[in-house]
Amino acid sequence: MKTTLTVNGQLRHLDADPRTTLLDALRNHLNLTGSKKGCDHGQCGACTVIVNGRRINSCLSLACMHDSDEVVTIEGIGTPEHLSALQQAFVSHDGFQCGFCTPGQICSATAMLDEVEAGWPSHVSADVTAKQDLTVEEISERMSGNLCRCSAYPNIVDAIMDVAGSAKR
């Protein structure tokens, strides 16, 4: 099935089995291996990418559903030479150990900060209509869809806290 989507700002053409997940399309067809397959069930978050500005588990979404969508993967967020502010913060705070969940954590956090900016409440928000302060509790709750078995959580949260509220990320 032919699908055209924009990935990291580039127009990409895909001709794949309609059952191909977005994750498999990215990894196997477009050679973007930064997004990881952790569980393939939408439960670990390692495959998180940003589609039209929102974070999704790419393993739970079919590539053909994303015709003309804008997809941003970890490769589109920054490169080792030009890290985004959030990526730099993950480096500065050691927000990882084995690194396997890290691309998903960073994609997730990047979009999560936009959700906060847009005033979306979370499960732990005391007032669902007020603008949320990004506390440790808020970040931890909003990042709870991204598992880290090394449990680098304290540093992940610190890294996100570091860039939260600052304009650059």
Partner: protein, 788 residues
């Protein structure tokens, strides 16, 4: 990255005892770090999927694979009969673990065949088409009904004995006995198992395997293929987590991929689905601990009798050393005046349990902590008082008989008193204890609990021969250095620590040292990266290699410049020779032209250790690592749900090689340990099927599960008692057991519903259900209606 060394620097960049960032940091955050599944696949790569038995115990009477063979994309189907060499991957040589079982199925999910197809999808679909018939046999999944002393074991048990425990208990003023159930744990490495085998000429094959033990994978593949070890090369640059789950469990995938690759002469990749990975690979051992303790009215423990029964699964795997290590930690930080501890590595029809961070130590230790709890409740004191009362004696204690372990090793480096005293102070234990009592008195439904638990963990492989390591160091003519060693990187920062050691030795900036993938072709006969030993062993081996080259450079320079050897000093990025300083790279170049060998193989073996298993005596550990944690929880008595309000940790790693890395290990280890004891529950159904085989049913800690207040301190005063690498200490496993404080805080909160008069005897994992049931049981006992 191009970098010109600073020849005037006061210190090198990235030497030892600096917070050097992880060598792959920039790659991890940008998705450019290459894991095996990210490697470009060779043309024509095939993909494998394992066919798993769907019966817990029985014989295969018929296996019809015809539909599998003709399924679209299928290239080959392998069974045990297709193994050209030995159909066995038992890591301890007990010949009890087939790669693909022929007739006897011993657990639900045991691999019985493998499909190799053009795509992973095709292989997975084809697997479902097999028609297998079985004669079912009776099976046992739970060890609760087994007799530890008489039922079938997978490997010989161990007995540790000092003094006469039975007499001491009989003579003691007071006695308590009981049983504790301790659950297992799935590793849940985010990167599952994977092997990519690429056939070479003649008998050769190269296997990229996500393994902590490349040498063992090499040996297993060579046995399976029936070829010499020299034909097999195993390489691993990095794993997406290991935690012990890739110490032996990688063998199966590597062996099958290699067999298929050689048979078909095409590259073969096997990466099991997450559910298959969790079903077919081993986990942490569940334990049942039976204990009897004799003590006096003050809470001094006089004698302890312990039986540690473990669910080992269908084969021995590493269950011998795991259950041994449980016994080695049946004392934790406490002196047992008379002790008898027996292990029972029980056979069950479940997946063969394996290594997992702590390797039986955590189960051993929490058994010891239960003994402490029982005594504390019996004499009506705060468990922390009983802990301190029973600690091993301080170093140099005149009363020297209070420092001999149940395995007759003397504790020479005890710092637990200071660690616990400092944590008690910084965590404000005494005041919070009073506050919590007041809070609980006034809170009807929410109860708080507090606990402070110590950790003393023995460092060294108990298989003495494993305590050796090799390294390979090349210095190139531009002064850059190629570093290789037998240790593997799974996120723990081993590569960067060893690179720091080499940079320090040569006094060159760390970016002049290239860390290269672990491969059996460069450093042979290595030990698993396990037992927390990675930096200790490989750091020493790399230092040894670097020193050999340095010594040659010194000899060369002394001769060429006609100065005494002691007039040659390695300064940052340069070398002072007499009165002049020259760049390190320039000296290297001169040495090359003078035909000085600039490559060396380093070696290290841990001194001082020995162990006689038959006698149960020896000095199995080079040293001990210490730490302590204090946790406070609040529990909802209506639902059993709980929150960790605060945790304070004080841990030590000697004179740390890299405090930033060590802190990450401590925080991560604690949280993983907390997960083991709280939310992570493995559950088998009445057909012997593991039903918790995905993150949907198996809950590891999330960011939102970490303590609300989390104060982690790396003690800055200790240094290793023994001459370890730069006097640092191991950090991989010891912090895992810091999670015990959460479990004991939960227990404390549960105890509050019965006014702390009854030992809650909480089993692990303390899921909300189990916490609720324990509270209900205690309330019932208080009301005089014993439900036990």
């Amino acid at each position: 990255m191009n970098h010109t060394p600073d020849l005037k620097a006061a210190a090198i960049k990235g030497g030892v005892a600096t917070d050097q960032r992880h060598d792959s940091a920039h790659k991890h955050v940008s998705g450019t770090a290459v894991y095996i599944d990210d490697m470009p696949e060779p043309a024509g790569t095939l993909h494998g999927c394992l066919g798993l038995a769907d019966i817990a115990h029985g014989t295969i009477t018929a296996m019809d694979l015809s539909a599998v063979r003709v399924a679209p994309g299928v290239v080959a189907v392998l069974t045990g009969a297709d193994v050209p060499g030995e159909n066995d991957i038992s890591p301890t040589g007990r010949h009890d673990e087939p790669i693909l079982t022929d007739t006897l199925v011993q657990f639900h999910g045991q691999p019985i065949f493998a499909v190799i197809a053009e795509t992973r999808e095709a292989a997975r679909r084809a697997c479902r088409l097999a028609k297998v018939e079985y004669d079912a046999l009776p099976f046992v999944t739970d060890i609760g009904a087994l007799d530890p002393l008489n039922d079938k074991l997978v490997t010989p048990p161990l007995t540790l004995k000092r003094g006469d425990a039975a007499d001491a208990i009989a003579a003691a003023p007071r006695r308590v006995s009981g049983r504790m159930r301790i659950g297992g744990q799935d590793h849940f490495y985010l990167e599952g198992h994977i092997a990519l085998a690429i056939p070479g000429e003649d008998q050769d094959v190269t296997v990229y395997s996500s393994t902590q033990h490349p040498s063992e994978v090499q040996h297993m593949v060579s046995h399976a293929l029936g070829v010499p070890s020299h034909a097999v090369t195993v390489e691993i640059r990095r794993m997406g987590g290991g935690f012990g789950g890739k110490e032996t469990q990688s063998n199966q995938f590597a062996a099958i991929a290699a067999i298929a690759a050689k048979k078909l002469n095409r590259a073969v990749k096997i990466r099991p689905d997450r559910d298959d990975d969790m079903t077919a690979t081993g986990k942490r051992h569940d334990f049942l601990v039976d204990y009897e303790v004799g003590f006096d009215d003050e809470g001094n423990i006089l004698g302890v009798d312990l039986v540690y029964a473990a669910r080992c699964g269908f084969s021995s795997d590493l269950s011998g050393p795991v259950t041994d290590r449980a016994l080695f930690h049946c004392d934790n930080a406490y002196f047992w005046p008379a002790v008898k501890a027996v292990s029972a590595p029980l056979y069950t029809n479940t997946v063969s349990n394996t290594a997992f961070r702590g390797f039986g130590g955590p189960q051993g230790m929490i058994g010891a902590e239960r003994v402490i709890d029982e005594v504390a409740f019996a004499v009506g004191k705060d468990p922390l008082e009983i802990r301190k009362l029973n600690f091993y004696g301080p170093n140099g204690d005149k009363n020297g008989d209070r420092n001999v372990t149940p395995y007759h090793q003397t504790v020479e480096d005890n710092i637990v008193h200071r660690i616990v005293a400092e944590l008690e102070e910084s965590a404000d234990y005494a005041r919070r204890r009073r506050q919590i009592a007041a809070f609980n008195a006034n809170s009807r439904f929410i109860k708080r609990g507090l606990a402070l638990t110590p950790v003393k963990f023995g460092i060294s492989f108990t298989a003495t021969h494993y305590n050796q390591a090799g390294a390979l160091v090349h210095v190139y003519t531009d002064g850059s250095v190629h570093l290789n060693h037998g240790g593997t990187e799974m996120g723990q920062g081993l590569y960067v620590k060893v690179a720091q050691v080499v940079a320090e030795e040569f006094q060159i900036d760390i970016d002049q040292v290239k860390i290269t993938a672990t491969t059996t072709g460069k450093v042979p006969n290595t030990s698993a990266t396990a037992a927390s030993s990675g930096s200790d062993l490989n750091g020493m081996a790399a230092q040894n290699a670097a020193r050999q080259i340095k010594d040659r450079l010194v000899d060369f320079a002394a001769d060429k410049f006609q100065v005494a050897a002691d007039q040659i000093v390695f300064l940052p990025n340069r070398v002072r020779i007499g009165n002049q300083e020259i760049a390190f790279a320039d000296l290297v170049k001169m040495a090359y032209f003078a035909r000085i060998q600039l490559s060396a193989a380093g070696f290290y073996k841990t001194p001082k250790i020995h162990w006689d298993r038959d006698k149960g005596e020896g000095h199995p550990f080079y040293y001990f690592a210490y730490g302590a944690s204090c946790s406070e929880v609040s529990v909802d008595t209506l639902t059993g749900e709980y929150v960790v309000e605060r945790t304070d940790i004080l841990h030590e790693t000697g004179r740390s090689l890299n405090r930033a890395i060590d802190l990450g290990q401590i925080e991560g280890g604690f949280i993983q340990g907390m997960g083991w004891l709280t939310t992570e529950e493995l559950w088998w159904d009445d057909k012997g099927r593991l039903r918790t085989h995905a993150p949907s049913t198996y809950k590891i800690p999330l960011a939102s599960d970490r303590p609300k207040i989390f104060n982690v301190t790396l003690a800055d005063w200790p240094e290793a008692f023994e001459p370890t690498i730069h006097r640092s200490k191991a950090v991989g496993e010891p912090p895992f057991m810091l999670g015990m404080s959460v479990f004991h805080a939960l227990s404390d909160a549960v105890a509050s519903v019965a006014d702390h008069r009854i030992c809650p005897r909480l089993d692990a994992p303390a899921t909300p259900e189990r916490v609720l049931m324990a509270m209900e049981r205690l309330k019932g006992e208080v009301a005089g209606v014993s439900k036990r």
